[in-house]
């Protein structure tokens, strides 16, 4: 935090004599003209790529009006898709919060052969294209799967796909915090007679909580918009395995761009809400550092 430029001490007395004109760098009070130019360029790029397209979605939905949006969202098949997306994303976030923390713990505090490889593999879901993830899960848990279980076209398959693509979030947000956390505090607690679980719950968990919540929140935001990994393995059966993004896709294919926009706006509002909440959680975590 302290690394943000501090302008006060800049032209030190000795250097001024050596140089005729004092540099006009970093004056806090006035925004420099070149800064405005830079901000303008950044906003131009963001607008062309992100903001104008999203505005088009919002515009299309707004043209419908709130009543019509509600009609679209509460139509039975769309509502079923939205509910499935919400519930499965919540479940995925919860499972990641627990399992992700365990994995992070094992990667930081445990030693076993091959740990470096396991640690590297955690990033694989970020690097592997989602459609490939879906195909691989289908290969293992589908009709000709290795374990004799066939999860294809079930809600379990939806969960499986979402768990795959969101695996890294909690692990990668908890890991650095756990590394920095002083082990001595924990050891002191257990030396003083606290059981290891009590030591964990009372000493470690509170410091990890912001990281866990933020990782789980990111998992949720990712899960609720996920498309590629689910599309092959879920079968996209309305009322059963169709999630909201797949429903949007179906609406686009059938030419109903207004309906697609309405559902898209609902999804956007949910994930923006989560991201804003996470910004607050991060501030809370930073406060914990001080």
């Amino acid at each position: 935090m302290a690394s943000v430029p501090s302008s006060s001490s800049l032209p030190a007395a000795g250097t001024v004599a050596a140089r005729p004109a004092p540099p006009k760098v970093l004056r806090r009070t006035k925004v420099r003209r070149s800064t405005w130019l830079g901000v303008g360029l950044v906003m131009l790029y963001l607008s062309v790529i992100v903001l104008i397209p999203l505005a088009a979605v919002a515009w299309h939905a707004a043209e419908l009006g709130p009543a019509a949006i509600w009609r679209v969202v509460s139509s039975p098949d769309t509502r079923a898709a939205l509910q499935l997306s919400l519930y499965s994303s919540l479940a995925v976030a919860a499972i990641n919060a627990v399992v992700g923390t365990i994995i992070a713990w094992v990667l930081v505090r445990d030693t076993f052969p091959g740990k470096t490889i396991v640690n590297a593999l955690i990033d694989l879901p970020f690097a592997l294209p989602t459609i490939v993830a879906g195909l691989t899960l289908l290969a293992l848990y589908g009709p000709k799967g290795a374990f004799g279980v066939n999860l294809a076209y079930t809600r379990a398959a939806v969960m499986l796909a979402l768990l795959f693509v969101t695996l890294p979030f909690v692990v990668r947000s908890v890991q650095p915090v756990l590394m920095e956390l002083e082990r001595e505090v924990e050891e002191a607690a257990s030396a003083l007679g606290a059981h290891s679980f009590t030591a964990f719950r009372r000493v470690v968990l509170p410091s990890l909580l912001p990281a866990i919540v933020s990782g789980a929140g990111l998992s949720f935001a990712r899960a609720i918009g996920e498309f590629g990994s689910v599309v092959l393995i879920s079968g996209n059966i309305p009322f059963k395995t169709q999630i909201a993004p797949v429903r949007i896709f179906a609406l686009i294919e059938s030419g109903d761009s207004a309906g697609a926009s309405a559902l898209a706006v609902v999804l956007l509002l949910i994930s923006f809400g989560v991201l804003l909440a996470l910004a607050f959680v991060q501030r809370w975590g930073r406060k914990g550092d001080e």
Binding site: S3, V4, P5, L10, T15, R28, T35, W36, V42, M43, Y45, L46, I49, V50, P53, A56, V57, I102, I103, W105, V106, F112, V118, A120, L121, D123, L124, F126, A127, L128, P129, T130, I131, V132, L135, T136, L140, P176, M179, E180, E184, A188, A191, L192, G193, S196, A221, G225, E226, G228, V231, L232, P245, I248, F249, I252, S257, S261, A264, L268
Partner: protein, 280 residues
């Protein structure tokens, strides 16, 4: 750090050893079931019927075109987002302006948008009935169902990575060296190339790797705007789905294998170049 009672440590250590093995088992079994076995399965299934069908699928003109298109799209999207990312990060860290935290939120927006919504949004702007659709049609410019929209979709989804990786590095290095260069009479341009860029090289590289991974692997947004014209607007990910729908499993697995190998290389690069966890 109070004098430890040695007696109580021994049984505790034994108890926590059992706990440790338990946790290790949970973590490794979960990773095996969710991650390692499925990915291993791609390799197995691809070569299930020997090498010949795989080579045939690899030599298929449609597969080759899909690979070519994937690389071309990434070759446009990654440099653009890299230049934007470095520029934007410099602005955010080194300049003061009102609305900076708002801009910071805006940059993260692509992370919160479903790929399907990205595709929809581009159709609503550039599609036949979209905002610019009429003008584009009059001038004979195809955006939707052609590569320009696929490039736009790819830039959209991979936009935040470089910015997000470079900002913390810039914050850490501070401005002293740049100021020294300035004092010694370097132009801003010289300072950037000789001082700033070498100092943030690690963050930029890591951001570029993440951007590339996302650009090569994007499916949802690209598939919606591509129109999925085989041999013309199929990227490798779209090609995987298309082959699967045609019941050409060898074709689908072969293209998947190419993508999986790329992913493994990217993971290796990430591991080697991971920025050291910001220690104090």
């Amino acid at each position: 750090m109070s004098s430890g009672k040695d007696g109580s440590v021994v049984p505790d250590a034994k108890g926590s050893r059992a706990g440790r093995y338990g946790l290790r088992t949970v973590a490794l079994v979960y990773l095996a079931l969710i991650l390692v076995l499925p990915v291993g399965m791609v390799f197995y299934r691809t070569f299930e019927n020997g090498l010949q069908p795989v080579l045939q699928a690899l030599g298929d003109p449609e597969t080759l075109h899909a690979l070519y298109l994937t690389v071309v799209i990434a070759a446009v999207a990654v440099p653009l987002n890299t230049v934007f990312g470095v520029f934007c990060a410099l602005l955010m860290v080194r300049r003061t302006f009102p609305g900076k935290s708002f801009l910071s939120v805006l940059i993260d927006v692509p992370f919160a948008v479903s790929p399907v919504v990205v595709g929809l949004s581009l159709i609503l702007v550039y599609g036949r009935t979209g905002w610019l659709g009429g003008w584009l049609a009059e001038n004979g410019i195809r955006v939707i169902f052609a590569w320009p929209s696929m490039v736009l979709a790819t830039i959209f989804v991979s936009l935040p990575f470089v910015v997000r990786e470079v900002i913390p590095v810039l914050q850490e290095i501070g401005v002293e060296q740049d100021q020294a260069a300035h004092t010694l009479g370097a132009t801003p341009w010289q300072t950037f190339w000789r001082i700033t860029l070498p100092a943030i090289r690690g963050g930029v590289t890591y951001g570029v790797i993440l951007t590339t991974a996302r650009a090569l692997g994007e499916f949802g947004a690209v598939s919606i705007v591509s129109g999925k014209i085989a041999g013309q607007t199929s990227t490798l990910t779209v090609h995987v789905e298309e082959r699967f729908q045609q019941f050409d499993l060898v074709g689908a697995y072969t293209s998947s294998l190419v993508l999986a190998v790329i992913a493994l290389v990217i993971v290796l690069a990430m591991t080697l170049l991971r920025p050291k966890e910001a220690g104090s």
